[in-house]
């Protein structure tokens, strides 16, 4: 087993790192403070193809593999968790389901501009009563002539108001499964500006504060029949498949946040002096750093393994769940330790680790909580 990166991946990492350092890092603190969506950065990322990395070239993408995409989200998240999740939600949650389940017409109409970065994507599954329990959907879609009429709302939608194209899930009927009546869920591609589609409140969040998190409201929203994504009733399958990929994206974000906190801490403990010497010379600091670095490396191997599984396997939900569970918990632990090693300064907004700790928390929650990842992993073990 060879763990060395290929020339392509080494060059891609160097590119993402340079871009993150020059274009993203200088804005990270301001984006967090102001809660402003970093449109300037998104436009630059679009120009250089960062919004279509794993999408084939015939659909306007860069034609790279999932590992390249993972490294992009990782490097961006090292300096700014907000920017990392913007790319992740756009790519994994909007481009990917259209690429996997869309018709050729849908791919030409929606995927091409998304992959080129001319449009930004989002994904709407979560509702006030349907988080981990995706079957709790209340949003309904009813066919009326050649249009579906959607009514309901979605909450906590990343890229919410800034996106142009949304993959939305709604109940289209009921089906009987093993003697039980279940909701039939279908997926739809909805465009910003379609009649009856509006935005509710913007969430005020603990972290990733620059990502535009909104409620989406559908009031008799009319969507052309041809915007049904996949087959009628295939929505739950599409959602679960999409989340498997999304988990790899969020695992990459978590990994990046952890690496960023570790790097900041290594630099800090060399500078900060107490009792006449740099705190990095104390064994407690050294042991903390050793644990942090080892856990980050373990998370990295799982995240990269999941990326390779997505490239080579039909099913990769197990690997994705392990990667996300591990990376998210490592991100929380490492950022918490980073703040601790920074002492009082780490608790102030003057230092990046304070933001990183707040950004890390969400990675244990969205795209399936850590508890859900444990359910996925254990279900596969006990199958």
């Amino acid at each position: 087993m060879d763990f060395t990166l290929s020339k392509e991946h080494e060059m891609a990492r160097a590119l993402f790192k340079e871009f993150a350092e020059k274009e993203v890092k200088p804005l990270a603190q301001e984006v967090d403070e102001t809660e402003e969506f970093p449109r300037v950065t998104v436009d630059k990322m679009a120009k250089y193809g960062f919004l279509g990395i794993p999408v084939p070239k015939e659909y306007g993408g860069q034609g790279c593999d999932p590992l390249t995409y993972v490294m992009c989200v990782e490097e961006l998240s090292k300096v700014c968790g907000t920017t990392g999740v913007i790319v992740s939600a756009h790519t994994s949650l909007c481009c990917d389901p259209i690429l996997t389940f869309g018709t050729e017409e849908q791919k030409q109409k929606y995927l091409v501009p998304l992959a080129k970065g001319e449009k930004l994507g989002a994904f709407g599954l979560t509702e006030p009563g349907a988080g981990t329990d995706a079957q709790g959907q209340q949003t309904k879609a009813v066919l009326d002539g050649d249009e579906y009429v959607i009514n309901g709302s979605k909450i906590f939608i990343t890229n919410g108001k800034e996106a142009d194209v949304y993959v939305i899930f709604a109940v289209t009927g009921t089906i009987e499964k093993r003697g039980r009546l279940m909701k039939e869920i279908s997926a739809f591609i909805v465009e910003k500006g379609m009649p009856g589609f509006s935005f509710g409140t913007k969430e005020k969040k603990m972290g990733i504060r620059g990502s535009s998190t909104y409620e989406l409201i559908f009031t008799d929203c009319r969507v052309p029949r041809e915007n049904l994504l996949g087959k009628l009733g295939q929505g739950f399958k599409i959602a679960m498949h999409t989340l498997d990929g999304g988990r790899i994206g969020i695992a990459s974000q978590a990994l990046g946040i952890a690496e960023g906190a570790l790097e900041s801490t290594i630099a800090y403990v060399k500078e900060r002096k107490q009792f006449g010497k740099a705190i990095g010379q104390f064994q407690n600091t050294q042991f903390q750093l050793a644990d942090m670095a080892t856990k980050v490396e373990a998370a990295k191997l799982l995240v990269y393994k999941a990326a390779m599984a997505k490239a080579t396997q039909k099913e990769y939900g197990f690997e994705a769940a392990q990667a996300k569970l591990c990376a998210a918990e490592v991100a929380m632990e490492v950022t918490t330790k980073a703040v601790q090693l920074h002492g009082g300064y780490g608790y102030t907004r003057e230092y990046d680790v304070e933001r990183m700790m707040r950004d890390a928390k969400i990675t244990e929650i969205y795209e399936g909580t850590s508890e859900v990842q444990r359910m996925v992993i254990s279900a596969a073990l006990l199958k």
Partner: protein, 260 residues
């Protein structure tokens, strides 16, 4: 239009400098980057390509490892890449380097050759102008702006406190300043394509109209007597004062040292 851009892989000075016992740079032991002036030259060529349509060929002389910088150039948008590498070319000064590049470029068709003004590892600014002499074409150095006008180029040449506007018929050579532009990034897809693309490798046998006596260390009139890393400055003195006090303090120090 056909544009040849000469680029050089240079040590990344952020990673520290290391020397061989003979005083030459130990390039193999150092991190490397594309020379900043050359990168600006490449960006200028790629902008001309975007604006007017052009085929951009990048050429470098160096160790086999210099292929990296050619692939970076292709990932930015260059169409073809040529690596000139041969043991007999090692240890070249500016004279031998420009002779080598001229020998390689004589194989190519070109309207425009762009080089960087100078490389950050040698800082001579000689290779570009020497190359134009060997190829017997006009040179405009220190370009801060380049436009195409029919069969000519119009170039703003930086000059102390002003700039000159010069026009030259193509084929000609331009040396570019890092300030000329902000080079574009590679694209992820460009990287994957560049890593699959062919890099043409030429050796001594491919050089046209060049004498052996003008190549490599033996053909280099310049010999390095001694080289050293820059002397590290001391920690200096740190003071914490408000702006008004700071001015008085600095002026006092300058007077003390008889600077003012």
């Amino acid at each position: 239009m056909k544009i040849v851009v000469c680029i050089k892989q240079v040590p990344d000075t952020k990673g520290g400098v290391q020397f061989n016992p003979d005083g030459t740079l130990n390039r193999a032991a150092m991190l490397t980057i594309m020379n900043p002036d050359d990168k600006a030259g490449l960006e200028a060529a790629l902008r001309l390509k975007d604006q007017y349509g052009a085929e951009v060929t990048v050429v470098t002389m160096g160790l086999p490892k210099a292929e990296d910088v050619l692939r970076e150039a292709m990932a930015m948008g260059a169409d073809k890449a040529i690596l000139v590498t041969d043991r007999v070319l090692g240890g070249a000064d500016t004279w031998a380097t420009s002779q080598t590049l001229a020998g390689a470029i004589r194989n190519l068709e070109y309207d425009l050759i762009i080089t960087g003004r100078q490389a950050i590892d040698g800082d001579t600014a000689q290779v570009g102008p020497q190359l134009s002499e060997h190829l017997n074409i006009p040179v405009i150095s220190y370009a801060q702006n380049i436009k195409i006008d029919g069969d000519s180029v119009i170039v703003e040449r930086q000059f102390d406190d002003r700039y000159h506007v010069l026009k030259a018929k193509m084929p000609c050579l331009i040396t570019a300043l890092a300030e000329l532009n902000e080079p574009r990034y590679m694209t992820p897809g460009g990287i994957f394509d560049a890593c699959k693309a062919e890099v043409t490798v030429w050796g001594r046998a491919n050089l046209v109209d060049v004498e052996d006596s003008n190549l490599g260390l033996k053909g280099s009139p310049t010999q390095i007597a001694k080289a050293s890393d820059k002397v590290r400055k001391g920690q200096g003195e740190k003071v914490n004062l408000d702006p008004a006090e700071s001015v008085d303090y600095i002026v006092g120090k300058l007077k003390e040292k008889h600077v003012i």
